[in-house]
Amino acid sequence: MTAAEEEWGRLMVAAQQGNAGAYRRLLDELRKWLCRFYARRLPPAMVEDAVQDTLIAIHEKRHTYDSERPFKPWLAAVARYKWIDRLRSMGRATMEELPDDIAIEDHESSVTSSVILTQLMTKLKPAQAEAIRLVKIEGFSVEEASARTGQSGSLIKVNIHRGLARLATIVQKQPDVE
């Protein structure tokens, strides 16, 4: 356990006792950690949302942290739980069309930085992985993805849905990463 993580544990204990200053410092640090955590696991457009969602979850469940145990596994378990949730909901939510000017900056590196997600996708059937990569990560519409892959539009949707469900299952069965 690094010194920083021990410090997080101490800050959380102070927060549990009602110390708002300690809590704010903790959340600021966790935010950075969570950004890195999700940047490797989710498409860039979803990272900010996932971070906020997890911060809220941490807030609502902060009484479940046991001060006698290390903080990091607690944090990682919450983050991972919310990640699985996200993977599932990626299938349900229809992606909003983004205005063209948003994705320009740093697009390439953000896309390639979802390393863990990309690795996981190698465990899917190629057609599923392709559909998810095009529509959910690179932001093509279903029609465009259909034209590029030769899968019909409804097949693209089915493959996304099944692939994401499968991803969530794979992740759940894996031992904690990080």
Partner: protein, 215 residues
């Protein structure tokens, strides 16, 4: 909303949280559920507390049953409390259950050895084998509800395992309460049918956990 703003909002008006909150919550859920199960055993038409309770209460058979189910309930509660919080390490908590099971199996085999009169059917089946697992299941329902409601305030991250633990605790608590009704005395009966009721409750818990425990 911007994340900085969110953090400021979350840390404003921060309330202290109670120490040992999770355990207390679970305990309360357990006690409430057990109280309902107790009422059920008292007033369910075909149940009622056994009439010879005062006599039975000094026999080995009665305490053996209660010790078996209550020890499993408390071991299960230990696992449940861990599994209701994020980051419970993979403690192979099914291993926790082996001591009571092994102990009862030992008692069973000793009894079998020293009582060679050979009525093995009644040793294993008693006279109420068909109803035992069913009543155990019935009485575990209110306990399970109590535990699940408590867990809604907690944060299980492995929902199947947490559901199984809740099912096991509910089953073992239900079985302890059923022991007030059940007049079987054979350790073989308890080992077989009580365990079956517990296993069924655990499986049901594991099956419904992912649905009921999401947060």
């Amino acid at each position: 909303m911007n994340t900085e703003v969110l953090i400021v909002e979350l840390s404003r008006n921060l309330q202290p949280v109670p120490l040992h909150g999770p355990r207390a919550l679970l305990r309360r859920g357990l006690i409430r559920g057990a109280a309902v199960a107790m009422v059920l055993v008292l007033f369910w038409p075909s149940l009622a507390v056994r009439s010879d309770l005062s006599v039975a209460a000094v026999t080995m058979g009665f305490w053996m049953k209660l010790l078996y189910t209550a020890s499993i309930a408390s071991l299960g509660f230990f696992a449940l409390e861990r599994l209701s919080r994020p980051g419970a390490r993979d403690l192979h908590w099914t291993r926790l259950l082996w001591p009571p099971i092994a102990l009862l199996a030992l008692v069973t085999s000793i009894q079998l050895a020293i009582a060679p009169d050979g009525n093995t059917a009644s040793f294993w089946m008693g006279s109420s084998w068909f109803q035992c697992p069913l009543y155990v299941m019935l009485l575990s329902v209110p306990v399970f509800v109590g535990l699940v409601r408590a867990m809604a305030h907690l944060a299980p991250t492995r929902l199947e395992a947490a559901g199984a633990a809740a099912g096991l605790v509910a089953g073992a608590t239900g079985a302890s309460i059923y022991a007030l009704h059940c007049a079987e005395t054979s350790p073989g009966f308890v080992l077989l049918w009580y365990s079956l009721g517990l296993a069924a409750a655990t499986l049901v818990g594991a099956a419904v956990g992912p649905r009921l425990l999401r947060w």
